[in-house]
């Protein structure tokens, strides 16, 4: 049971990490948010997004290792990253509003 | 005419690249086991695996180097040199008739896959 939970955590963490990283990019930020900002996110926010996103990806690696051990864990993490990135790609394309919550956490909406 | 040069480059890249990779990996395998104290099986496996990397590099190089003459010189010359090293290190290994026969009847060389 603990192993399943850790694996689920690894996937969730990867997904969140890639979502954060994607949202630092102008076109995806624009797709998700209702704002019409043309200049994208400020540099500080972008850096924060990348930092936390990378942290989440690293956390996903840790969870994989803890669940499966070094060899299976590494293979699982690599494939997990790929599927999570794909998931984020399709979310941004077909259901961008699902990531509004993540975006609000990254950059609280300020009056334009 | 262009098609001819392209074909030549493809042939040189694919076969010349393989030749230099195969010969170099054989030479290295022999050198490691004779001089560097590697066990024969270890040396073989290591150099064969490295051979694939070397071949990839040779392919990329062959298809991105502007001058075709240089591709021919390096790949063919390098193959001959590496083969020369093999024959110099060991009179028995890879003598011409053996090498040719090996190339033609490939299946007996394959060991069983998996179990």
């Amino acid at each position: 049971m603990a192993e399943t939970a850790l694996v689920a955590l690894a996937f969730a963490s990867s997904y969140l990490g890639f979502a954060l990283i994607a949202l630092t990019q102008k076109p995806h930020h624009g797709a998700v948010s209702a704002s019409r900002s043309r200049s994208g996110l400020p540099l500080g926010t972008r850096r924060r997004g990348l930092a936390f996103g990378s942290l989440a990806l690293a956390g996903s690696f840790a969870a994989s290792l803890a669940a499966e051990g070094p060899s299976f864990g590494t293979i699982l993490w690599v494939l997990c990253l790929g599927s999570a990135a794909l998931g984020v790609m399709f979310t941004l394309t077909y259901r961008p509003h699902w990531l509004r919550g993540v975006q609000r956490a990254l950059a609280p909406v300020t009056p334009a | 005419m262009q098609a001819l040069w392209v074909t030549l480059r493809v042939l040189l890249g694919v076969f010349g690249g393989y030749a230099i990779s195969a010969a170099s990996s054989a030479a290295l395998a022999l050198a490691l086991s004779e001089w560097a104290g590697f066990e024969r099986a270890e040396s073989t496996v290591l150099c064969a695996m490295l051979g694939f990397g070397f071949y990839l590099f040779a392919l990329l190089w062959a298809f991105t180097t502007p001058r075709l003459s240089r591709v021919a010189l390096v790949l063919l010359g390098g193959s001959l040199m590496a083969y020369g090293v093999v024959r110099w290190l060991s009179p028995v290994a890879l003598s011409a008739p053996v090498a040719l026969r090996a190339l033609v009847s490939l299946s007996p060389l394959a060991t069983s896959i998996g179990s």
Binding site: - | S33, A48, Y55
Partner: protein, 515 residues
């Protein structure tokens, strides 16, 4: 680099798709076997006594110089007995609960047709198929490297997919998306596949290091203990006792296979191989016993570099028991298939106008080849499955055995798809996608009609492999139907889903798309 990537992709894309497709299916080759060989859809095997198995094996393999038994596993619930026969190696499945050999299934199945297709293309003469696959493996490595080099905006476009744009744009997005996001997989799979065959592709290394002594090479790299025959009758001792001894020496590792060499001779040797169900690495660990006395004659374990090769091979073979990873590998393979198909689509759409204007045949030829090699091979595979369920149990028609008829159906349908693609250029994609949707519905239906197993019943009685295959077939039918609708209704189809995209997201989307 761009020219290199394009040319290698277009010229070898057809073969690469075949390799990827068969490889993806091979991840579940044993599950496909359960589906194609209904007699082997047994429940979980009870703990099997090797001695009981040996009694069955000696009866089946009477007179053979060697035979092997492979114990049942989760994925293969039968006991498998292998021995050399007059026409090559014979494989018999035995019900482990009763010890009775199952009838010859009359099919090559996933492990006998689909898996070998993946690495030999069934071109056996002079191993040409194997060498062609090897060349494609190197080509795939070149494609990945060149793809990364030309995709300079790799991070900027990391998550970009614009299905609402022109087909050439959305195809390119899909191609790069599938390529980049699964890039470690697309690089490691061809490389590990090549490394499996290191002794075949670079025989010079062992020939040089071992001075041409092939027997020594096999012995030191793979084990292969042997000793001369005694040419006197001998007995076979207790395999269970040998297994217990092996487990002791392997600190708990269990044997999965026992092979008896020089069977019936006084100098007979029993080889026990260690299971790799819980390791990534496909070990070659073996312990050799004197057949009569059970005395340990020798033991083999790979040395460090050899162990690395076994790990890399294991990463490719995916023989470990791990369902999540298995499905992820399957997904990775499918991503590769989509990548190749999208690559073709991009090349065709971006050059269509120009080739038409200049009267070049390039697009027409590539389109026919691409259609046959993408939708064509998928359709041929489905025909293989349907034929398997449609033909009666034992059959010989016009001199062809049942298993040959299935293969014949595969190639006949495949050839037809090429002819169809050449005859109906633009429309062929969509029409074949529709045929795939129909066939993917027919296959589970044929399974139901011929065996009574449908997904719910299979799940209920624990035949997960069968249920899984039927579910994947049905899901594939839905995807193919969606694709067919897109491609037939509007030949210049875009990949958007207008009804499903929320209106509020649309203005932002077009802003994003132009951003």
């Amino acid at each position: 680099m761009s020219v290199l990537h394009t040319w290698v992709g277009v010229v070898l894309g057809a073969v690469l798709f075949a390799i990827f497709w068969m490889g993806t299916l091979s991840v579940f080759d044993r599950e496909i076997d359960r589906w194609m060989m209904p007699e082997t859809r047994l429940g979980p095997a009870p703990s099997v006594s090797l001695d009981a198995a040996a009694r069955t094996a000696t009866t089946l393999a009477a007179g053979a110089k060697q035979w092997s038994i492979t114990l049942p596993s989760e994925r293969t619930p039968t006991l498998q007995v292998r021995y050399p026969g007059p026409e090559g190696s014979v494989l018999r499945h035995v019900d482990p609960a009763t010890g009775v050999a199952l009838d010859d299934a009359g099919t090559l199945g996933g492990t006998g047709f689909i898996f070998p297709f993946h690495f030999t293309l069934h071109l056996e003469w002079l191993d040409l198929g194997l060498w062609l696959v090897g060349l494609c493996g190197m080509a795939m490595l070149v494609l990945v490297v060149s793809g990364v080099v030309i995709h300079r905006r790799i991070f900027r476009d990391f998550f970009m997919f614009r299905p609402d744009k022109a087909l050439s744009r959305s195809s390119l997005d899909l191609h790069t998306g599938m390529g980049v996001l699964a890039m470690p997989f697309h690089f490691i799979m061809p490389l590990s596949g090549l490394i499996i065959f290191f002794s075949l592709f670079f025989p010079g290394t062992w020939h040089a290091a071992f001075q041409g002594d092939r027997a020594a090479f096999n012995r030191e790299t793979f084990g292969s203990y042997s000793r001369p025959r005694a040419n006197a009758p001998g007995t076979l001792g207790s395999l269970d006792a040998m297994a217990a001894e092996a487990e002791r020496r392997w600190a708990g590792g269990k044997p999965f296979m026992a092979r008896v060499l020089e069977a019936g001779d006084a100098a007979s040797v029993v080889e026990l191989r260690r299971s790799y169900a819980n390791d990534v690495s496909m070990n070659r660990d073996a312990i050799y016993f004197d057949a009569a006395s059970g005395e340990v004659l020798g033991r083999f374990e790979s040395k460090p570099v050899g162990a690395v090769q076994r790990f890399i091979a294991g990463m490719h073979f995916v023989q470990f028991d791990h369902w999540l990873l298995r499905w992820l590998y399957f997904g990775g393979g499918l991503a590769g298939c989509v990548m190749i198909a999208a690559g073709f689509s991009f090349w065709l759409e971006s050059r269509r106008a120009e080739h038409a204007r200049r009267g070049w045949l390039g697009v027409r030829v590539v389109e026919a080849l691409a259609t046959g090699s993408v939708t064509g091979i998928v359709l041929a595979t489905l025909a293989f499955f349907i034929t398997n369920r449609a033909l009666p149990a034992s059959l010989t028609l016009a001199g062809f055995e049942r298993e040959e008829l299935e293969v014949l159906a595969f190639y006949a349908v495949w050839l037809t798809t090429f002819v169809h693609a050449a005859w109906r250029p633009r429309a062929a994609w969509g029409e074949q996608a529709l045929a795939i949707a129909v066939a993917a519905l027919l296959a589970p239906a044929a399974n139901w009609l011929s065996t009574g197993d449908h997904p719910l019943r299979a799940l209920a009685r624990g035949a997960f492999a069968v249920a899984g295959m039927d579910v994947v077939l049905l899901a594939g039918a839905m995807v193919a139907a969606w694709a067919a609708r897109r491609l037939i209704a509007r030949p210049h189809a875009r990949l958007e889903l207008p009804a499903l995209v929320a209106p509020s997201a649309r203005p932002a989307e077009s802003e994003a798309a132009s951003g």
